[in-house]
Structures are given as C-alpha cells and as structure tokens.
Symmetry: C2
Subunit: 324 residues, 2 copies
C-alpha cells in the first residue's frame, strides 16, 4: 500500500491548541487537542506540543508521510516565523518556526489565524479556483486574510490584512488596540453585544434580551432573539451589517476581490448578517464595482476549519517548492 | 553596432497623448505628442495615433528594436485590454489592445495612469527593489496603484486600486463618482481648492488668496501662498494631509506597504503635503504598523513620468514572458 502524504496543521488558540493531519484533498486524520495554558511561558508550551506531536507521529508511522507543518496563531509573523506579544498568551516574542525546525527538520510555516483561514478557503473551501478574494473572520475580534493573484498578502512586514482595524468612526468606540472606532468594535461577536447593550439602554422597545444578565448576553443569544423576530436583535444585526458593509466597500476599492468570505462565529447568523452586509456594501461601492462582488459563507467544515487552514498554509508553501 | 531594444510608452491624457521609446534602463528617446481631441470618436483617434507611431517607427528603423507597446489611459482595464467610458473622452467602450495588435503584432498592454505610474516607480523610480508599496497620484483626481509581492494588484475585474474613492466622510463633499465624501474630493488639486474656498468663506483671516478670482485659485497658487506663510493656505495643506493620512492608515492595514509614493501635481508642494500626511497617518496607524511606512516622492523625472510608466508596464509584461 502506498503511504499517504499529509501535513500537520496546528491551530494555537487562546484556550486550546488543535492538531490534525490533512492530505492534499483536505481530508483530516487523527485530530487531537492540548490545552494552550496561556499563562505558562512559551518553552513549557512547546515542550508539551512536541510530546503530543511525537505521540501522533508514532501513531501514523508506516501509514502516512509527513511533508510539512503549518501553524495558525495569534500575532504570528509569516516572514519571521515568530509569534510577537500575543494578547492572551504569556509568551512575549517567540521564534516558533526555529523551535519547530529544531525538533522536526521539515518545511514549516506560521501565520495568523485569519490568514490561515484564507489559505484554507482557497485550497479546500469556498474560494477554490479564485485568485482574488478576502476572508473576514467575525469572532471575538475581526480578522482578515487578503488574497491577490492567488497569493496571500503578507506585506512588507508580514502583518498585512488587518481590515478589522480600519477605522469606521474616528470618534467611535474604544478598541482593544488603543484607538477608537475600529471595524472590530462593531462587527465582531463582542461588537454586536455592545450594540445591543447600547440599544437596550436607548430605547423602550420590548426585547427578550432584557431578561438576560450581561454575562448571558452573547452573540448566540442575539441570533436566537433575531430568529424570534425580536426588534432590538434585528436592528442590531442591521447596524452590524451596515458598519461591515460600509467598510468592505473600501476594501473592494483596494483589491477588487471576486468574493468576500464571512467566516467564524457571527457569520453563522446567516441571512441576519449576510443580507445587511451585502446591502450596505453595494450602497457604498464605486459604480465600477457594483453587483460584482459576492459575499459568501465559509466552505470549510466548521469543526475542522482551523486545522485545515493551518495545514493549507504549508501545503501552499510546498506547492511553491515544487517546480511547475 | 548592436540595436537597442526599446518599448513604446503611450500616455493617453484628456488633452494630449504623449509617446516615447524607452529602453530597459529607463532612458527615453524620441518623445512626441499628438492632441487627444476627446470629442472625436475613438476610431479617428486611433487612426491618427497609428500614423504617428508609423512615423516614429521609420525614424528608429535600423537603430532600435521595438519589443512591445505599453499604454496608460483613463478607465483602462488591464485584463480586457479596454478603455471603458472614460469621463473626458467621447469613446464609449473601446478594445484598445485589439486595435493596437491589428496594426502591430507585438506584445501590448494597457492599464490606468496610476497603475502605470506604480509600475514606473518599481522599474525606474522610487520603488526600485520594493515588493510592497502603494503609489498615490494627487492630480485633478486621486488615483492609486497598489503593488503586492512585486506584482501590480489588478483584482478580479482589472479595476483594483481605487483608493481615491474610499470614503473619508459619508456625509461629506459630493464626488464626481456620484457618492459623497470620497478621499478624492479632499486630497486632489481640486479638493484643496474646495478646502480653501470653504476656509475663505468661514473665516476672516487675511489671505493673499482672497485677491484671486475662482479661476485663478489653483493648487499652485495655494502652494505659493503657503510658501509666503499664508495662514489659510497652510491650514488647507494641514487639513488635506489630515484627510489623506487618515485614509492611508486604512490602506496600510490592508497591504502593509514598505512605502507610499506621492505622485503628481499636489505632491510637488513638498513638505506642505508630505509632513501632515505622514503625521496623521502615524496617528491613525495600528500599533504594529507605526514607524515602518515611508512616505516618499516620485523618483521619475517629472516630464517623462507618464511615458516611463506606460513603457514600464510592457517591460514588466515582457519580463513575465522570459523564463527566469
């Protein structure tokens, strides 16, 4: 029997790190998890990660051939192979690829999770065969990965694709980045929560969301309320889509993508977020771009998307090494 | 004697069309001009253009070898080789590259003037050896050319790079594109004129600009007044740089360029436009991008820049045809 070629995808999240082997067709094998334990220093984490990878390598021995390792992580720099001062991990500046290569002498690459998601969509998901598209991740924050001419945009410094930190309103909401009015403060899961809290304070409209404590008031609850026709919830989605669509019109003016993929928690609200986003994007587009740009959901299976993205990163690096 | 390889650069402007041969090192030869006569239909124009090119080809016969033709034109689409409904030319939809190839069976390409300027800067000017940068043309309007990974960004539809039509203020000034508050309505030669007129109406400050008729009030006059220390002129440049710098911070968040090249009429105001643009861009940048992005002037000789840009376009296409 021929051995199957796979890469190892590793998604380093604030709480858990998910690992899995993925073949060239996007089939995943042997998915596994370790706790990230963000309070620990990086060297302890990478020691635990190495032990887990070794375990997995013993399991695949003789069946699969490991071709490379791809990693998605917060504040990751593709050019330098580093993770730099991630907000939720007590790591500081870590040369991740250097560490990985000391253990495993095979092609390895790292990028942030939104960029990994973009490569995942291009390789295995909704953007197959597209050369120009943007992925927007609507999670706790707003991330983005921009693809131009079939290549992810890393920029001069390796940190390109921060659409979540373009400014919607210079006098707007305080952002975790220290500035005001970033897209992320409106169009993320926490952003729509802030919108609902503002709306509940400023109106007397009935709403099932009034019965929740602040801790209970999640974007999922807002989605459920919208499903029930709750006026505040529906208005909050409309406003969120307005902010997102308005800023995406600016993004289209930069790279003129074929499609924009909405990915992550808030995107699972379906039409409640897609419809106003599309409407306000079209309203704000320059004429030459109108009715051209699709807004579509992720094509990656939900539980596997992070590992598939990290794996796709290294598959696409391996493509570059192979002469055409 | 060896013949020198050249390309023909053609810049189609609203008033004049400038042509010239350019070698691989950016030396230009035999520059020439025909009136564009925008009121004429396209077929008459291209007949006149062909006669002029034929004249030039006779002149270079035996001395130069023509390798290709590059064209910069308003509303040009690189993918389709077309010019589509240019605002100042009575052309409609014209398949320019098809026409050119009927006459001259050599590699030919077209793009808009800002994209041509970006390729010109990369090949011959201020962005030599840069792989990620943006050119902003500050003329009657605001154009832009974005380069990522050493390639111009054309986008899915060939029209990418319209930073001049990103929105600064949704309730702002009427733009020729039919929307409100585009960057172009503030940061162009006509935009700073509008700023000065507003300021003169809203203040009683003395200003030498009060002695001019509206027709006389050009961006050049505003620059001269700034040189004399005129308060209104200085404030107008400060405000123009504020708008431009604020929006450029959003552009940096997209593609993280090494540098932004300011090009065209308003850029010749030097420190009056560069200093506030840099200041407000830095103020509005996400932390990770601060103090990284240079704002620099064009490196192309002023009178030759359009022809060099158009020529650089086809030189870079020829590079793609040559195996590395």
């Amino acid at each position: 029997m021929n051995k199957i070629e796979v890469t190892l995808g590793i998604d380093i999240g604030g709480t858990n790190t998910v690992l899995g082997f993925v073949d060239i067709n996007g089939n995943s094998y042997l998915k596994s998890t370790i706790p990230t334990k963000g309070h620990e220093p990086a060297d302890k984490y990478f020691e635990r990660l190495r032990r887990k990878i070794d375990e997995l390598l013993i399991e695949i021995y003789g069946k699969y051939i490991l071709k490379g390792i791809g990693i998605g992580a917060p504040n990751a720099n593709y050019h330098k192979g580093t993770v730099e001062y991630p907000p939720n991990l007590n790591w500081g500046y870590v040369e991740v690829i250097k560490i990985i290569k000391q253990y495993y002498n095979i092609p390895s690459a790292i990028t942030n999770d939104a960029n990994a998601a973009a490569i995942g969509e291009m390789k295995f998901g909704a953007a197959k065969d597209m050369k120009d598209f943007i992925v927007i991740t609507l999670g706790t924050g707003v991330g983005s990965g921009i693809v131009v001419n079939g290549q992810l945009v890393y920029g001069a410094d390796g940190f390109a694709g921060e659409i979540g930190h373009t400014i919607y309103d210079p006098q707007g909401r305080d952002c975790g980045c220290g500035r005001k009015g970033c897209l992320e403060t409106y169009a993320s899961a926490s952003g729509i929560r802030r919108t609902v809290i503002e709306m509940l304070q400023n109106s007397n409209d009935k709403s099932e969301l009034r019965n929740l404590t602040l801790d209970e008031l999640t974007s999922k609850k807002i989605y459920e309320a919208a499903l029930h026709g709750d006026k505040i919830a529906l208005e909050a989605f409309e406003f969120t889509g307005k902010v997102l669509g308005t800023k995406l019109a600016d993004s289209v003016a930069h790279t003129s993508p074929e499609a924009i993929v909405l990915f992550g928690g808030l995107a699972s609200a379906g039409k409640f977020i897609f419809e106003p986003t599309k409407k306000y994007m079209e309203q704000n587009l320059l004429n030459i771009f109108k009715n051209k740009v699709k807004i579509i959901p992720s094509g990656l299976p939900e539980g596997d998307s992070a590992v598939l993205g990290a794996s796709a990163l290294i598959w696409s690096e391996l493509d570059k090494l192979t002469p055409a």
